[in-house]
Assembly symmetry: C5
């Protein structure tokens, strides 16, 4: 994951609530899809302008408007006006580096969470902001770009599977959040597999790249954690809230999603601990190997340096060197050298260096 | 312990409460055993279908149904319907990577805890999920595979030992939890013994494998902690709860099990601290030894390198080298070399390197 | 950022509330600017003496007095007397190394926060104390030196943009705080960019300077954190306070600024974690490279030291060395040496050192 | 201190409240001493069977029964029945690896704390469990083996010194706890002295053993902390409790003992921090010395390796080597060698390596 | 700062409240000074016996008795009796290693804090216990030895400067505490300056002593922190207390001193973080330099070891070595050697080692 490159600074000095998109523009044109349903009827269509959605807000059916792309201030503002969103909320929707948070706006509830995905090659974690607003009979969801994370929810609405068609916008909002949290586990499993591979690599053949991968994974986990950790508080607040917008029957589902968030945090923390442990293992195995290398160098040097000195002695050209004339001088020197060598090897064996 | 290899992702997109087994399938066929008792009567049998158990639920006796194996959605669902379990609870039972938690379902209480055991060779810690549900006159317990952890409880019921036959399902649930927690200490004692062995090894002869074992134990403790830590909150909540399902007389037993959980956590933390300390000891002793090796290399080199240079000088073939013709040149050079050698040894002694 | 060089010690022994400037004097003469407005009228002027401002305090319009430079005890005292500030508050204004804090003085609210800026070259973080006091119809702001951070707020008042002209001093105080917090992100973005550059450098070509920059950035983040962290508590207290000086409608704006402070803290913590990670990466890559260097040294030495010994042997001048007379002795020795060399290279290959 | 070798696992599967001694058996036969007193009368005797003590429980005097040795289930059970102790409490008394804790049993209060002593040679910390139970007119104290820690309290009772004879069992329980906590300081002072010795050693002559002692002390402090830390909560609870068993006048004494516990924890933490700092100092001084060693090796090598090469050159036996025939070739080579040597020394001086 | 060498153990076994001085005796004879004042009158004198002070306690004026030296049990006891201090409080006064704490004794309030000073050479931090007791019309202050920290307060009383003469003993107690806290900043500034010097040293010329100073400062900060940290809680409790001994008007001053304590803690923590960062910088710069040294050694060795081997080859004395007879053999060998040398240098350049 790259560091957040959103230029929040470009907003410096603007009046609070000014609608300027802060973040990377990930889509050309916002795509607006509308789903309107209750227990009996169901309608799904892609609309060109937000205005087309407004009539559905009058009816008592649940109206779910999903917007992919949040850079168009015009769209956000119109929706904001139609659904009574404070300009600060509109601003938040357009600022895509928000921390997960909850705002109870009385007539509606605003939830920011972060969708986490692996990018194309599955090597980097990409996060995206999801703004959810739900009121008495509507749910608005703002994503930064089109994705398939909500397709299963759409499927369930289309085919009337499960209880989703019979329940209200709070349950739909829960279902969307649940889809987001479920996806955390998809990402975590991939990370878990990579960690297992790394562990095997670490034992079999630790290399410089292993180290880089560990560091990279640690960093990804840092960002993952940043996205998930505050969500815990958000879901807990959602469960505790006394807003009439949330039916008591939805509470058990919120508790369930809360448990999942905790579980995800738990996994992230475990991964972080494991990666730290692996880093330690790597470093101590590197220092161990270096120790090994040093030992061999020392042994070779310590054996041959004295011997080389010795042969140097008898390579001197003094006229008077009695040993040179001895009949078995040469073999005698070999004897000494072998003795020294064997003695040193014995010494090293005793020191447990060999 | 391997990383959790349960594929939670396969559930992505399913309606919440869908019954799909998430986790490793550890048993072929769920085994269902029924124990029905009160102060006077006692019945124990293994049943083939869950339906056989239902009549016992009508009576006022305590009915304990233990299921080994949680992958069969059919069994879970039938039990769920008979004992009024929300579909999310059924889902939780089948998802075997839950964190310990407590859900007060009004007519029953749902407790998730994790059983910790050593695998065959006693080298790895294996955890298993235990789901406990108890109501007015029944206890359901779901394990992932058959085990003997509850045998002592069964014995006590069979022979009417202790107070167990006189008390209700809350006491039985406590007894099961207590058995789980007691087993933590069995595992911890084994770990403690291995740590003591390691400590002796560390002093006597620290090797690369010692390091690997320390790292491995640290990792096991990480997983143990993850299993035990949240249980503390669960037992505390059980003690605090105002549910009429828990008799006041059971509270002192819950406090006791709470003390044991704290004690287990305490031990795990102590082991972690000790292992970290041992890691430090290992690393500093390795770096110390390397230091030793370096010193020897340096001493040998520093003594012989100048001497080798000297003998090299008199190995040169210049026609005019006056020293070569001196009567005692050779012995003179030996004298110088011995002086240099002794001087350097003295120098090293003074520097406390020898 | 330099360590706080303010000489608080010079005040040692003075009566509490004594007005002595503690801190670096950053401006020659305090500059006092007055802005007086309500929905209809607007007045802005620079005044020479504080007394000129007092008549505006009588009117019901919002009076904003901004003072650049806090070393003049006379100015502070006069303002203090006119606006009913306790002598301890006056003292706090003049002591420019305060931690962010909030004091509810009943007739007014005193907020200390710290403005964070990059110095000229953008290499160091400079902080400055901002004292804000607002009451029923006035806002006093004390900066250490003139700056342009509040220009956008002034612009909005001048041109009646946004809601600022219609709301009271609490909203103005919020707008000033918001400007301060917004500027944190400007600084954080610059830091973020530098961290990204550093990361690329770390992979491509880690050098000693990279290390120094990482350490320097860590230190800057330490100071940044010190400035931002307590502000969180201050803004939360401002939101929670039941003082009638804060209109309920301002609460949503305070919550917004609270979210921004949290976000800033979050970024600072992430940067700190990343810098720590980079430090680890640097150190392990250095130790890795050293390992590399050691290996090459060892390989070269281990190959040539025995060979040099061998040629030394046949450089000895013994009269009786049979090998020297052999027809192919020389070539035989070369053969041995090549065999030894190749053998060692093969040995190193197998040990995965080459 | 050895790891807790108590075999809690041997109790696995027993009914809760079963009386089995868990822990090392430190004494052959439990020794029971009885002290019975009030303001006027005093009786002290050693009894053979617990039954002898029971009559004293009827009287209104304070009865203190001290039992040294907790492995005899029979003794514990009889006392338990006589003084109305729940079987779980009896079990706790016999399980000697308890964490400090407090149980308010309504008719009596049960306090577990740990006595800390240095073993014979003063090198290792030994802990022992103290179970205190006090009621309306009795105090029971269970130690693992006879010791002299309570002698001063006995003295004060015998001679009616201080207020002890005039106050009730709660004051006696306090006095015993106070004796335990006072003894912590005896141990801490010894540890403090050893740390000071170590610090001097570290500066004067750091050796491998110094390191081992630091590690050992750190580990002892880990165990000390484990014994003291939870006691804080226990004493705080004792002070806060609303049990009628504690006279208001005793509260100030409990606060005093609380202060002492905090002080002891404070000292333990400080010692831990200091030991960590010493470890760092040791390691960095070792790495520094290694650096020193490396430098000397490098300097010697770098000076002589080129020189040795040079003399090697003129040791070659080519027939046509013009220099060999020069009149002053030999002296010329010496000149070059001296120049190279001096140049390198100068180079090292400039690099600040010499 | 030396470790606390007070022998608390000598009190082991004494009845609680026994008056034995625990700590270093820093003064020969306790010095007692009395200041008695109200808005109109003022009296200051040094008294020989405590009894001389008692008459002043009867009057409604504020009586401040300052005792320098706390080893005389007699003095403490007489004062204790006269001012109604519990024997445990008297004991605390004489035990000079107390942690800062607050005891509300109903008729008076007892505050322990620690005065921090630099010793003579300004190299070590020395702490001293200050016991403050204030009641309806008196303040007792116990220091371990005479000092000038309270001189400014005395000055203010003498000359009736500020509000001190008009307010009661609570304000005087505040003024004394404030003087103590103000002095923290004097010490912290000195430490801050030393840290800045160290930082420059670290960049310019890091030496072994730099490391020792960093470690020493870290340790001093550890002790400073231990003295300041608990004071925060003490001042907060003083502000919160509902004791009638503290006038509401004093609260704002207590809040001010609370802010200062927080600021001091903040500084200590920052210094600790900075020192840790400096330690890291030092260690990584040492390891960097070692790397440098190793490289040079490797380069020199790797270039000359093969060359030395080569000249060794042609120094062999074989009878049949064809090269030796070649016309340009010698120059050819030089050619090879230069080629090898240049090649290696080129290789090192490419590896970025040169």
């Amino acid at each position: 994951m790259r560091l957040n490159s959103s230029k929040r600074s470009q907003k410096k000095g603007l009046s609070p609530g000014s609608l300027v998109h802060v973040g990377e523009r990930k889509v050309d044109q916002p795509r607006i899809t509308l789903i309107d349903y209750d227990g009996d009827q169901f309608l799904e269509k892609e609309v060109a302008t937000v205005e087309e959605c407004f009539p559905f807000n009058e009816t008592s059916t649940v109206t779910w408007i999903n917007i992919d792309g949040v850079h168009d201030a015009d769209v956000i503002e119109k929706l904001g006006r139609a659904f009574g969103l404070h300009s600060l909320i509109q601003e938040d929707i357009m600022t895509t580096s928000q921390r997960p948070k909850l705002d109870d706006l009385e007539t509606s509830i605003y939830v920011v969470s972060r969708m986490v995905e692996l990018n194309g090659e599955g090597k980097e974690i990409v996060t995206e902001q999801l703004s959810l607003i739900f009121g008495r009979n509507f749910v608005l969801s703002f994503q930064e770009r089109p994705g398939d994370m909500f397709d299963p929810v759409r499927e369930r609405i289309r085919h009337g599977k499960g209880r989703i068609r019979k329940l209200g916008p709070d349950y739909l909002a829960y279902a969307l959040l649940d889809a987001v949290v479920d996806h955390y586990f998809v990402v975590l499993e991939t990370v878990g597999e990579r960690i297992e591979t790394l562990e095997d690599e670490l034992v079999a053949d630790p290399r410089q790249e292993t180290l880089h991968t560990i560091h990279a994974l640690k960093r990804e986990m840092l960002f993952f954690r940043k996205s998930v950790w505050p969500l815990r508080e958000v879901v807990a607040a959602l469960e505790r809230t006394e807003s009439p917008l949330i039916q008591p029957s939805t509470n058990i589902f919120l508790r369930d999603v809360y448990d999942h968030v905790i579980q995800a945090i738990d996994n992230v923390e475990t991964f972080r601990d494991m990666l730290s442990g692996m880093l330690e293992t790597y470093l101590s195995s590197v220092s161990n190997r270096m120790n090994q290398v040093m030992k061999i160098l020392t042994i070779i040097s310590t054996i041959f340096i004295p011997l080389t000195f010795l042969v140097g002695v008898y390579g001197m050209n003094f006229e008077h060197m009695p040993e040179l004339k001895w009949r078995f001088g040469y073999f005698f020197v070999w004897g000494i050298m072998i003795a020294v060598g064997v003695g040193l090897v014995y010494f090293f064996k005793r020191k447990k260096w060999l």
